[in-house]
Amino acid sequence: MTNILLITFVISLIYMGIANRLSTYINILAVQGIILFGVSFIELIQINTVNLIFILFETIVFKTIAIPLFLNYIIKKNHIVREAQPFLPDFLSVVIITCIILGSFILSNVITGVHIRKIFFLAAISGLLSGLFIIITRKKVVTHIMGYLVIENGVFILSLSTGNKMTMLVNTGITLDIFVSVLVLGVFVNRIGNTFEEMNVDNLTNLKD
């Protein structure tokens, strides 16, 4: 079951490569939240209850509901054009994301000597690299946040593969940090929306030598 969920996660990355509308991106992020919920529910069922509830709360409430609503709110409030406006044609995006997945597949099969489940490693590394790719190739500031969230999802999958080695305190701190940083990023996106007419990265090129 875990394998199926993680493969769905990887497929959703490919779908992100061809998605045109921002609302599709938001839906994909919500679906990824549900997938993460499923994976953590299956994987972490034997850890203590408080910790489990905390993680489930984080995936369902935070990743699946709060962030998509927040992003929708930002898009509506700032009248952002509903298209993603990538710098690259969709076909190329899909090819590159497929190459990223293939690369992570090869990488996860090359490493030896450490006990890790390959499918987790594969999903995490493809999430990280696809997120970076989306940040680089999309024109809007909002899509940068979406890329960042994809990276976060990848990191989350990687941390699931360790089970419950980190202490609760550290885990809480880390989640809090991610939560705050998304909020801060959102606040600044709103500011950018108020200051500039269009929220494109082209507006953010005044600082240079």
Binding site: G113, F188, N206
Partner: protein, 457 residues
């Protein structure tokens, strides 16, 4: 009403400074004591905590001057100081953290608190810089987190995983080398955003450019020290494994490319704050090379960071006064500073001597040690390249500073404001410290630094 607010603000700041000072003294006299399980007064942390405490006094003083001249509302001043105090506390915790996860959390918090300060002027430019800084730092810190997770996977085969810096090295001895390399790479790339080393140096440069000058002083000194401490701790964690030569190679390339990049940009830079920022990148590169060359290099790198903090802070304090006089940061629109503001011009002259490491300056001693370490570890190629690009950087700094001081062009704008010589005492104090520590370093400080590097020999 306004006056009462001001009194309360001053009272709280003085109280905070007193507490911070008492904490620092307490930490110094309780060296190597563990606190609450997650913090430890170890030598490395205490050194940089002392630097931070000294610079807190001057930064808060100059923030008052800066805010007074901007005539900000009482509310935005309170915001500024609240964020500043949070930043100081968070940086102190990041220095003293003895647990990898806790250090990570506090480094992330420094990004968030400094973002408020960078955005203080509320202009489109500051918005752009803040956005870039927060975004790049968030991604960097996420990459570091991946490194930490990989680390926990690697040492996970033992039953209890302990993430304190004391316990990690023993658990790493049985881990496969290629896995260690991957962990080190992820962690270093993330921490480079804070230290301003090559692959991730761009965020810090833009932040320097638009932040209020007292805050630039903090970003360039104590915040870069946070990055240095984290890289140094990561390095010491891995120093007893088989990948030590490979790690040195990575740090050599980061450091050397940082110096090359900063020299290249210094050749054409025209913005005084950007110039100082690139000069910081160059010094960070030198410190990284110091760590990588080993031997006396470890000692020299820490000493270099301490002295660099004092010099660079005084640069930015003086830049604030300079900006109020000229109303611009552009070097080619200014000049003749000696006639306009004698006290400030003397500061710039002393800074020039200090920062290009001319002999009475303490940086001369540390750079000499770094190059000595490079020479004794037989890295002649890096030695020559670093020296070459360092001299280009020195030439550019000297050219620009001398232009500001002596350029006699007639059509300069009239001075916007009469400079007050009493605002320069802090810079003279810090520079005197740099010269004094270089000539006659106190035994207590030497012992502290030696204590910090004793595990690396």
């Amino acid at each position: 009403m306004l006056n009462r607010n001001r009194m309360v603000r001053i009272g709280l700041l003085v109280l905070f400074l007193v507490v911070q000072t008492i904490m620092t003294i307490y930490a110094y006299f309780h060296l190597n004591e563990e606190n609450a399980g997650y913090f430890k007064f170890d030598a490395l942390g205490v050194i940089f905590m002392c630097v931070l405490t000294i610079l807190s006094y001057t930064t808060i003083y100059h923030s008052f001057i800066y805010l007074q001249h901007r005539k900000d509302s009482s509310r935005s001043q309170s915001f500024y100081f609240a964020a500043l105090i949070i930043l100081i506390i968070v940086m102190t915790c990041a220095y003293l953290a003895s647990h990898l996860g806790i250090m990570w959390v506090f480094i992330e918090l420094t990004t968030l608190s400094v973002a408020v300060l960078i955005y203080h002027e509320r202009t489109p430019l500051s918005l752009e810089a803040t956005w870039k800084y927060v975004f790049i730092c968030s991604i960097g810190i996420t990459i570091t987190f991946i490194g930490i997770i990989l680390l926990s996977i690697a040492i996970g085969e033992t039953e209890i995983t302990n993430f304190s810096f004391k316990a990690i090295p023993d658990q790493l001895l049985h881990v496969n080398a290629s896995w260690l390399k991957m962990i080190f790479l992820f962690m270093i790339v993330g921490f480079c955003t804070k230290m301003g080393l090559f692959p991730m140096h761009t965020a810090a440069i833009d932040a320097h450019t638009v932040a209020p000058p007292p805050i630039s002083a903090f970003i360039s000194t104590t915040l870069m020290n946070v990055g240095f401490v984290s890289i140094f701790r990561t390095y010491s964690m891995f120093a007893h494994t088989s990948i030590l030569p490979w790690m040195n190679m990575i740090l050599f390339s980061c450091g050397l490319i940082s110096i090359i990049v900063s020299a290249a940009y210094l050749l054409k830079v025209n913005h005084l704050k950007r110039m100082s920022a690139y000069s910081s990148i160059e010094h960070m590169g030198l410190a990284a090379i110091g760590i990588a060359s080993g031997g006396i290099g470890y000692f020299a790198a820490i000493f270099h960071m301490v002295l660099h903090a004092f010099v660079k802070a005084s640069v930015f304090y003086q830049i604030d006064q300079f900006h109020r006089n000229f109303r611009t940061y552009m070097i080619n629109e200014t000049g003749n500073y000696f006639n306009r503001n004698l006290a400030g011009a003397m500061v710039f002259l002393l800074i020039l001597i200090a920062i290009i490491a001319m002999p009475p300056s303490g940086l001369f001693v540390t750079e000499f040690w770094i190059f000595k370490a490079l020479f004794t570890s037989a890295h002649f190629f890096i030695f020559v390249l670093a020296l070459f690009f360092l001299s280009i950087a020195m030439y550019c700094l000297a050219k620009n500073f001398l232009h500001i001081l002596f350029n006699q062009t007639k059509d300069l704008l009239p001075a916007a404001e009469k400079p007050d010589p009493s605002e320069t005492w802090s810079q003279y104090f810090l520079l005197a410290l740099v010269f004094y520590l270089g000539i006659n370093p106190p035994a207590a400080m030497i012992n502290l630094i030696q204590e910090a590097v004793k595990n690396l020999r």
